[in-house]
């Protein structure tokens, strides 16, 4: 058995990783703590209280926008992941062809334009369609968020494809009759880490997309970020800390569930 190459051989890596996690969680801990603050304040501790959770639960608008945000993020990032996987398969590990750069630029375009510009452009187009068709449902937001999530899902999947060992697939191509089977049984399982990374990025990006939503939404389609944006100019209530904490709790539940399911299977 060759000696295991572990991270202990790269001194400092573990420490830096630890530092990263600490930095990522420090503000989160602060907001969780202050969500239980009796005080109206973000900075002055006034004793333990659940009043902001009660306030959040009592507030119909807060409930609606939270659920809408989660739903939208789930749908948009799922769609974006599927489309991005297909697009990554189409553009990676093929000999260079004409138009490849254009496709690449198209896919990454939502990244390159600030949200406010995409927002204004979408407002004009979407409003026109709304007037013409009379349809003012969530479809527009789903479409806009999906488009915005595609580059975030695409890049990790592509990175994954590029570093993947091809010999297995080639062996499979020799054994199996169809490309589809080779894809189903070899490529796809190997791609999973990239797909998971892409989906998670898409999900959190959709949860944070604010300016585009602001311009595309119709009556009664506020999401959590646009609701927050509306508060920015006035006072942001600790209710928002409570909501954020609930979102964290939800994400922890999902992680735990995921962990239980995968460890059982393994």
């Amino acid at each position: 058995m060759a000696r295991q190459f572990s991270i202990s051989r790269l001194p400092g890596f573990g420490a830096i990783a630890l530092l990263t996690f600490v930095l990522l969680y420090l503000p989160i801990i602060i907001l969780v703590v202050f969500s239980f603050n009796e005080n109206q304040s973000q900075s002055i501790w006034g004793g333990f209280s659940l009043r902001w959770y009660e306030a959040a639960f009592d507030n119909q608008q807060v409930r609606d926008v939270s659920i809408r945000s989660l739903w939208l993020a789930l749908v948009a990032s799922s769609l974006a992941t599927i489309l991005a996987t297909l697009a990554a398969l189409a553009t990676t590990r093929v000999s260079r062809f004409k138009g490849q750069t254009i496709i690449y630029a198209l896919i990454n375009q939502p990244l390159m334009v600030p949200e406010v510009v995409t927002g204004i452009a979408l407002l004009i187009v979407v409003a026109f369609i709304k007037v013409q068709t009379g349809y003012t449902g969530m479809g527009y937001l789903v479409l806009a968020h999906t488009a915005f999530c595609i580059p975030f899902a695409y890049l990790p999947i592509r990175a994954r494809l590029e570093t993947m060992d091809r010999t297995l697939e080639q062996a499979a191509a020799d054994l199996y009759a169809s490309h589809v089977q080779a894809f189903r049984y070899i490529t796809l399982p190997l791609l999973v880490p990239g797909i998971v990374a892409g989906f998670m990025l898409g999900f959190v990006v959709s949860l944070d997309t604010v300016v585009i939503t602001e311009f595309v939404k119709s009556a009664g389609q506020d999401t959590l970020p646009t609701y927050m944006l509306g508060q920015l100019r006035r006072a942001v209530t600790p209710e928002m800390n409570a909501i954020a904490t609930l979102f964290l709790a939800l994400s922890l539940c999902i992680v735990t569930l995921f962990f239980l399911v995968t460890s059982k299977r393994g």
Binding site: K130, S218, G220, T226
Partner: protein, 342 residues
């Protein structure tokens, strides 16, 4: 899981014309500005449900509604934008057979220049933009814009100016001896020089004033009266000053959109907020004054006679309705603004 998403998708996509449903009114308003209790009361009295959708700036709201296909019934623009809304035919005249409380509008808010005779709009909340000071740090005259433009030593580096271009420009122009939207280049040069010289002494240009004044991170600045009052509730040395040279007065107004899908319900809502008791509910939530007569007695105790809500007699004349400046003037101001923020 998949099926749940599919069902949810179908349901949400199907709920297309929320706006045309029975017993609904769609309000398009500033965020965190509508009292939920008041909405509940409205629904209990009329059976009409209110859907609130937020905007974060007058410009966004105007752009959004101009394009059409929005589905809103009521909008709450600031007075300086109201004329544009009216002139472009975006609003519907008030139906006075439903808005029978029209007479409840306080006399001084009835014949206003931006909507003479209140044909289209009714008051929602009004306030002023002035000087917020922590008197524990500074004990001089607070009714002067010099606190921000020519700060004394003890306030340097502790000043915050709300990033509201037209308000800040107006205060600076008044301070330089001009009229709002002036095209007098000598005044504007003075304005620019004052701002550029003052900026290094500012700590921030931020909206989150309540928190930062309460925590002591800010000790002076340009801000709104209602926000200053909120800060004072948390730190009682915070005071509000009205610059003697001039300060902007503003009012947000509720109006019904010309292409509203529920115009009748919208008119009922407009009528409802003109009841003194309901107007006071709005004020108690948003912490600004309303323009409805006789509503003071319903105000919460901490707001009755609050110095932030009552302009001192001798300074009333210094308060001016800020106008929306013509394009050329706005352009001039935004160039100075860009220079300031580069």
């Amino acid at each position: 899981m998949k099926r749940t998403i599919a069902l949810g998708t179908a349901a949400l996509l199907a709920s297309t014309s929320l706006a045309s449903a029975e017993g609904v009114v769609n309000l398009y308003n500033w965020g965190n500005y509508t009292s939920p209790e008041m909405l509940e009361k409205f629904t209990a009295e009329t059976g009409i449900t209110v859907n609130v959708t937020d905007f974060d700036s007058n410009d966004t709201a105007l752009a959004r509604v101009r394009q059409g296909g929005h589905g809103f019934d009521i909008v709450v623009p600031t007075h300086s934008y109201l004329e544009t809304w009216i002139n472009e035919g975006l609003l519907m005249p008030l139906d006075k057979s439903i808005v029978v409380n029209h007479g409840n509008i306080a006399p001084e808010w009835t014949d206003v220049p931006f909507d003479p005779g209140r044909e289209y709009s009714v008051p929602w909340q009004w306030g002023t933009t002035g000087i917020t000071v922590d008197t524990a740090v500074y004990d001089g005259n607070i009714n002067t814009a010099d606190i921000v433009f020519n700060p004394p030593e003890e306030l340097k580096g502790k000043i915050n100016v709300v990033p509201e271009m037209s308000d800040v420009m107006a205060i600076a122009i008044y301070h330089a001896g001009g009229e709002s939207c002036t095209e007098d280049m000598e005044v504007m040069r003075k304005v620019r020089d004052t701002l550029v010289a003052a900026k290094p002494h500012w700590k921030a240009m931020d909206y989150s004033t309540v928190e930062n004044f309460a925590s002591g991170d800010f000790s002076a600045g340009i801000g709104w009266n209602g926000a200053t009052m909120r800060a004072r509730f948390q730190r009682d040395t915070v005071a509000y000053g009205y610059p003697e040279t001039g300060f902007p007065v503003w009012m947000d107004n509720a109006a019904v959109l010309a292409d509203a899908q529920n115009p009748e319900n919208a008119m009922k809502f407009i009528n409802f907020i003109l009841e003194p008791e309901n107007a006071a509910m709005l004020s108690n939530f948003a912490r600004y004054a309303n323009g409805v007569a006789e509503s003071d007695e319903f105000l919460s105790e901490d707001m009755q006679g609050a110095p932030e809500l009552t302009i001192p007699e001798d300074l009333v004349s210094a308060g001016k309705f800020s106008e929306a400046c013509p394009q050329a003037v706005n352009d001039l101001q935004s160039q100075i603004w860009t220079e300031l923020l580069q």
